[in-house]
Amino acid sequence: MTYIPNTPAEQQAMLRTLGAETIEDLLGAIPAEARLPRPLDLPPAMSEPALRRHEMALAGKNLNLDEALCFLGAGSYDRLVPSVVAHLAKRSEFLTSYTPYQPEVSQGMLQATYEFQTMVCQITGMEIANASLYDGSTAVVEAALLALGPGGRGEVLVSRGVDPQYRATLATYAHARGFTLREIALENGATSTRDLHAHLGPNTKAVIVQQPNFFGVVEDMPALEGLAHTTKALFVAAITEPASLGVLAPPGAYNADIVAAEGSSLGNPIGYGGPALGLFAAKSDLMRRMPGRLVGETVDDRGQRGFVLTLQAREQQIRREKATSNICTNQALLAVFATVYLASLGKQGFRELGVQCVQRAHYAFDQLTAIPGVEPIFDRPFFDEFAVKLPKPVSKVNRTLAKHNIIGGYDLSRTYPELGKNAALFCVTEARTRDDIDQLVSALKEAVQ
């Protein structure tokens, strides 16, 4: 049960070359009072096969999306991923490398990241993008921090249509960093321009709106952007469902300053929500204030094109307390997955992805709302998620659906209590066939009886 190659005998020989007898002799710097006087109280070592069986049993206790039909979205999406993606992205040269500090032997990661940055720009319509952040929520935080600037004081407005977990994360950082966070109300499921107008002021540094918003509703981004830009605030588009960019106008088209998004559904396993992939794109004038790593093109001493980590003067390893962000380890490998995934879909496929989500979700919406007692909550265009009122509490309905191996919609009652106990948010991605949807409809009919 060890990954230590050297045997005790070899270690003994090594100790001898050091003039030591035991490893204890090397640990003299540790004061005795600091030493743990007993073995760690942990479960005993397990052999590889025993551990494999143990974890297969643990994993078996989870209902997975290969076994169940998933109609749950709310920030994480059951996406179809071509086989090529993992085959390539998991290659050990990528998997087992560190941050590419030595570019001469890291051109693979660097070029893949450069391609990733480009693709993020291509789908968002933005000018530049970084090499990744932790996840969508912290990308939104970084967007706020960038907008706030050094010192970090000022006001950030966030729509109530932004993912509740993202707002919670923002609130945590707002408290610590000392900036003001205000929520913009919704009207009929979309960000209220009236309320935004009412909150905008000279101290407003950022306006954050999610597109499509948490309810799947397609926001009127040009209107909100126009309003936001009547002040000096930066307009931040948050995106949790990047597939929407296949058909919806990209943030670049509505003049967003920053895009902060969750990109893990681009080719990565859903993995209980982590690791996730924060995407961060911006206008190019924000380049030297960007958080996170950036890969740039350059030449080598033989005159060949090559890639390097660049503009590191923004980063903690150089700038320390003056860095634009504290991030170091990011989500590089997930970015490679996303790059292979997006290459694999390509121009046509990425559009088709968006189209399929919209069409399948609308079919499901029509079928579900045809069930007596199931009512749409908002009267707004939507992408691949929609909120409906059920005749019974969502938690009850979901328990019945689970018996049919269906993972039902998101229960809105905790995060949007104003919608009551019976409001559910259903998600229908490109992975759900007509038959899947019909199964949901018939199971739901039974559940609401």
Binding site: L58, S132, T172, N330, G349, A431
Partner: protein, 501 residues
């Protein structure tokens, strides 16, 4: 090896790879579903490439990348140990990889159990009362820990504490995180033995101090002998002690930060627990806290009911709130869980002992030719100065580049900042003696070359797919993305090397 084109320079209009499901639902014109103004006018200009082009492209890119599986990776501070393949297989199980973070607890009992158990195990390893696995990486753990410390001080009416003390040997994320938590930084000097200068610490301590952040062993690979006293001083001044766990690979089963007085500890599971670093990430940065800080942890936290079922429990009213969406980098946690269960208590202790042995073995064999700023046994890593070589015109960076010619990755260079021409070497416990011996031989050869043929070193690397890259050009005229019409950056020097390919 020729350079590989960008994927945007490949393909042809109309080519594609992935296929989606056949469209089997009735469709309507998009404009009937979404207002035209909200629709995309032009397709995203993604590449148009076939599957074989994608496969070859990324295979070629992988061939141009060096990982732990490719060879020795003595990158100090990064703990680039062997990443067990078992961990990968466990993380790929559909029961872990294919579950949705918002599923009902009843349908993810195995996942919550795993996280719950991992938290317990990390508590024991660090000697802390409670752990959260929410933070995504070490730096994320740092900011989370500092926010907890802030909330704690505030809860005691000491919200005025706005200073964090940080040794000058610290990693850059420490000060960056402190700034992010709205603290001012005071830097503490390193003493003559490589530890915190206790006198200086005493001077800096006052009632503004919220916390001292430190690693132990620190970035010099030195275990701070005065840790118990330091802890007492900080606590006496009303401060909290933060442990940067990036170097925990040195102390498993030997020392528990909690026992030496630390109030908050972060783990870099991607270092200590051997989850692969993925070319820069993902990692996972759980933090553990002492009992008095438990109420401030972000939530939700996993709980075990009397009936043996697991569920997520909301954090209490004093919680700082969540620091990201969902429950941490779960698939990284699976790998760490696997690693800890595989090793068990004795195995973990042997990990650290062996890491210390390997580091001392290397240090011992190199200290005659390279300057050792603090000549004492090291823990899992050590820092040399290449100042003697520098005097011959060969810098730490040159040495790093030359190492690449021998099929090895380079040590961390120019860090920690307090050592001139720093070369920071961390062999880890998973390297064989033969590999260490070969590294020693190569380092000695490079020293020799620095005397006899310095040009060989200053122009290195010679055998890599590309040579030294122009960092200045990259930063002066940044090109951060490909755009249509971009010609590759090449210089006049561009001539085919050797036989054409």
């Amino acid at each position: 090896m020729s350079t590989e084109p960008l994927i945007f320079e490949m393909g042809a209009p109309g080519r594609r790879a992935a296929t989606l499901l056949e469209m089997d639902v009735p469709t309507r014109p998009l404009e009937d579903l979404v207002p035209a103004a909200a629709l995309r006018q032009e397709d995203a200009p993604l590449p148009e490439v076939s599957e074989i082009e994608i496969v070859r492209h990324f295979t070629h890119l992988a061939e141009r990348n060096f990982g732990v599986d490719s060879g020795f990776y003595p990158l100090g501070s990064c703990t680039m140990k062997y990443n067990p393949k078992l961990n990968e297989d466990m993380a790929a199980l559909p029961g872990f990889a294919r579950i949705h973070p918002l599923q009902d607890d009843a349908t993810v009992q195995g996942a919550i159990e795993l996280i719950y158990t991992l938290e317990q195990m990390l508590c024991e390893i660090a000697g802390m009362a409670r752990v959260t696995v929410q933070p995504s990486a070490g730096a994320h753990g740092e900011i989370t820990g500092l926010m907890i410390i802030k909330a704690y001080h505030e809860s005691r009416g000491e919200g005025h504490r706005n200073v964090v003390l940080i040794p000058d040997s610290a990693h850059g994320t420490n000060p960056a995180s402190a700034t992010l938590a709205d603290y001012e930084i005071r830097e503490i000097r390193t003493d003559g033995r490589g530890g915190v200068d206790v006198e200086h610490l005493r001077e800096l301590l006052d009632d503004k101090v919220a916390a001292l952040m430190m690693t132990n062993p620190n970035t010099l690979g030195v275990f701070d002998e005065n840790i118990v006293e330091i802890a007492r001083l900080v606590h006496d001044a009303g401060g909290q002690l933060y442990y940067d766990g990036a170097n925990a690979n040195a102390i498993l089963g030997l020392v528990r930060p909690g026992d030496t007085g630390f109030d908050v500890v972060h783990f870099n599971l991607h270092k200590t627990c051997s989850t692969p670093h993925g070319g820069g990430g993902p990692g996972a940065g759980p933090i553990g806290v002492a009992p008095h800080l438990v109420p401030f942890l972000p939530g939700p936290l996993p709980a075990k009911d009397a009936d043996g079922t697991f569920h997520w429990r909301d954090a209490g009213p004093q919680s700082i709130g969540r620091v990201r969406a969902n429950n941490g980098n779960f698939l990284v946690l699976v790998r760490a869980y696997t690693y800890i269960r595989f090793n068990g208590p004795d195995g973990l202790r042997r990990v650290s002992e062996s890491a210390v042995l390997n580091a001392n073995y290397l240090m011992h064999a190199l200290k005659d030719l390279f300057t050792l700023p603090f000549d004492r046994t090291c823990m899992h890593e050590f820092v040399l100065s290449a100042n003697q070589q520098k005097a011959r015109g060969v810098t730490a960076m040159d040495i790093a580049k030359r190492l690449l010619d021998f099929g090895m990755y380079a040590p961390t260079v120019y860090f920690p900042l307090i050592v001139p021409e720093a070369v920071m070497i961390e062999p880890t416990e998973t390297e064989t003696r033969e590999t260490l011996d070969r590294f020693i031989a190569v380092m000695r050869q490079i020293d020799q070359e620095s005397r006899e043929n310095p040009e060989l070193v200053t122009h290195a690397p010679h055998t890599t797919p590309v040579g030294r890259l122009d960092q200045t050009l990259a930063a002066r005229k940044p090109r951060l993305r490909w755009s249509p019409g971009d010609a590759p950056r090449t210089s006049e020097k561009s001539v085919p090397v050797g036989v054409s390919r």
